[in-house]
């Protein structure tokens, strides 16, 4: 019998040496003459255990990790192909508490299947949502998505079904589905993990969207920092076309749809949906004024659905299990599950998909295990470079769109970056302004000029030049940027800046005072 060994192709695992581990395993298989097959799966998202190698044994999957190339020979010696004991044994991966405590709806297959095997995808419940959608009217598909309560996972939290309904109701001979895969927020990697670990779910979600609104062409706008995701997507798209999942007749139906991957060119602002559309059209990635909405006049002026990767990847399960099933998870107006990404100085960094409602403290302390450095957690930035810094005092905030907004923060794309007590919050506030300056598209003044002035003000505070006056100026500047900017880049940069100032005022005091206080 052929034994199947899994070594992730996920770039997080590759960054920790998974490629060398896979090579070493392939070489041992050859020299020992063993009948085994090597599958390059996605990552389970337990990055402190990556590279995590799994073996399909008669008793189920058995995991080992973190494995280095040097460990490989000893794994064979310990008969890991039959689940033999080894210092790196982790047992049944599904029983590792970090994984066992999750509710994996969107990430159900990631780390389990071969990402580019359509048979594997179907064997694990893939395409059921699409098959159901093909029997439904467009209005019914849109209603299911609306009723599920799914909101845009890219950060804005806009109801996905409402977007789709607008496009459905807008007449047009040519409509587009655009997937925003420009995952540029620091601390986020869930889009990347899905695209590398289960690309078919994104293809399925986009195809359902196409049937729902009557679109025939789809684009995945992918950031250029993700070459491994590009490879996985293009491999999966080729398989999907060959199998008739995409093309002139989707699964033998009257619907035609195809998807193309387009690479960005290193501009953060292209994650903003209208800048993304301009970039796809071949222009500078500058933000458009709204209205018109992309749903009315989007890509090349055509009605366009533009959704984040995770939003689209959550659609197949909604169609498969029904709106009520999905909506049953979560709380308030935040329904379903959210793939939380724990990053930065965390002991257990990784992906944790759960229903909305865990508190920030539970996520950081219990799931993330506090800091990797072992020092106290001082601040966590939630929602990327435009998200607020939260102090411990706000750790009781439940992970929910409205609860975070009420605390002057945002959950954004659900990335959480943990900082220990060595962090200098004035430096972080300065960086937020610096980043806005580097990435501003330049179209509106509050963002383009405000960011540069913000860095200067932060530098004056750091040098102790009229600090009280400068702090007042910083607040005023943030106010102008928040209300005067055209998009979230300039409009949300005040979140990290003002939260740092409000919750960590001691870091903004002049140095002599700070030194005296210490």
């Amino acid at each position: 019998m052929t034994v199947t060994i899994y070594v992730p192709r996920d770039s997080g695992a590759l960054a920790l040496g998974a490629g060398k581990v896979a090579d070493a395993i392939a070489s041992e298989i050859r020299t020992r003459g063993i009948n085994a097959k090597l599958v390059r799966n996605g990552s389970r998202g337990l990055y402190w255990l990556e590279p995590m190698v799994e073996v399909e044994t008669s008793q189920g999957r058995v995991a080992y990790g973190p494995v280095t190339a040097k460990d490989v020979a000893s794994l064979f010696d310990a008969d890991f192909l039959s689940g033999g004991k080894h210092a790196l044994s982790l047992g049944d991966p599904e029983e590792i508490p970090y994984l066992a405590r999750q509710t994996r709806l969107t990430f159900a297959r990631v780390g389990i299947t071969d990402p580019i095997s359509l048979d594997d995808y179907k064997a694990h419940g893939g395409l059921v949502g699409l098959e159901k959608a093909l029997t439904m009217t467009p209005t019914d598909i849109v209603r299911q998505v609306t009723d599920s309560g799914l909101r845009g996972r890219g950060g804005a939290g806009f109801p996905t079904g409402v977007k789709w309904k607008t496009v459905l109701d807008t007449p047009g001979e040519l409509k587009y589905i655009v997937c925003n895969a420009d995952e540029g927020d620091s601390g986020t990697f869930s889009d990347r993990m899905i695209m590398e670990g289960d690309p078919f779910i994104l293809i399925e979600g986009m195809t359902i969207a196409a049937i729902a609104v009557g679109a025939t062409k789809g684009y995945i706008y992918l950031r250029s920092e993700y070459p491994h995701a590009e490879r996985a997507l293009n491999e999966a798209l080729a398989v999907a076309r060959k199998a008739g999942v995409l093309g002139k007749s989707i699964l033998g139906s009257i619907h035609a749809f195809d998807i193309e991957v387009r690479m960005g060119a290193g501009a953060y602002v292209c994650g903003e949906e209208t800048a993304l559309l301009d970039s796809l059209e071949g222009k500078r990635g500058q933000v458009r004024a709204k209205p018109p909405l992309p749903a009315h006049k989007g890509l090349f002026g055509r009605p366009t659905v533009i959704n984040n990767v995770i939003s689209l990847a959550s659609v197949p399960i909604v169609l498969d299990k029904g709106a009520a099933y999905y909506k049953d998870f979560g709380l308030g107006r935040s329904r379903g599950t959210i793939p939380i990404q724990i990053a930065g100085n965390a002991r257990y960094p990784g992906l944790f998909e759960a229903a909305f409602g865990l508190t920030l403290g539970e996520i950081v302390d219990k799931i993330g295990g506090g800091t990797k450095s072992g020092r106290p957690v001082r601040a966590v930035q939630v929602g990327g470079p435009l998200g607020a810094y939260f102090p411990r005092e706000l750790f009781d905030t439940p992970f929910d769109y409205e609860a975070f907004a009420a605390k002057d923060g945002l959950i954004g794309h659900a990335g959480i970056v943990v900082f220990d007590d060595t962090v200098d919050m004035l430096k972080q506030a300065r960086f937020a302004m610096e980043f806005c300056g580097i990435e501003s598209c330049g179209k509106c003044t509050p963002c383009r000029v405000g960011a540069v002035r913000g860095v200067e003000v932060a530098d004056r505070i750091a040098h102790g030049v009229e600090p009280e006056k400068q702090i007042e100026l910083l607040e005023d500047l943030c106010n102008t940027m928040k209300f005067g900017s055209l998009c979230a880049l300039g409009g949300f940069t005040p979140y990290p800046v003002m939260s740092a100032l409000r919750h960590f005022p001691e870091d903004f005091r002049p140095h002599p005072v700070r030194e005296a206080a210490e």
Binding site: L14, L16, E50, F189, E225, Y226, A265, R284, V423, F435
Partner: protein, 159 residues
């Protein structure tokens, strides 16, 4: 004379790329990617070719090229090292690792070393935030940058 023949070569190759790709919807970024892929940068000589092929002004094309961080106006070193400078990597001592790399390689951000061995570029997130600090050397991802890994990177680019 040599320069002139190089110019002709660039124009000819850029023309064939434009002709092949201009049928795409929104062809400009894919064309620029292909040109950079071909030459290692976007040569000035290619801009009028693109402009006339796509019926744009040269200023339009230049405006797009200069907007995006990825496009270079001159060739990079033999190796390209991108080091993440964003928050998750900052939280794990990324700034210090970046300083050490700059010292060890003798280059600052956006610079190419004098021997042409390496170009150092800042990047704002590689999506490797669960193994910060991170970097990318010639497209290969590197996680948990530390002294040892910095040593390996320096050795590789110096080879």
């Amino acid at each position: 004379m040599k320069m002139q023949s190089e110019d002709v070569g660039i124009t000819a190759r850029a023309t064939s790329i434009v002709d092949e790709m201009k049928k795409l919807e929104g062809p400009l970024l894919p064309i620029l990617h292909e040109i950079q892929n071909e030459f290692g940068y976007v040569p000035r000589e290619a801009l009028p070719v693109i402009a006339s092929g796509l019926n744009l002004s040269r200023a339009d094309v230049y405006g797009v090229v200069s907007f995006y961080h990825d496009y270079r106006d001159q060739p990079a070193g033999r190796h390209v090292l991108k080091v993440c400078r964003a928050e998750s990597c900052q939280a794990m001592g990324g700034d210090e690792m970046a300083d050490r790399l700059r010292d060890a390689l003798g280059v600052d951000w956006h610079e190419t070393s004098k021997d042409g061995a390496v170009t150092l570029e800042p990047v704002y997130c590689l999506g490797l935030c669960a193994c910060s600090p991170s970097a990318m050397l010639d497209g290969e991802v590197i996680g948990r940058l530390d002294e040892d890994r910095i040593g390996e990177i320096v050795a590789e680019v110096r080879q």
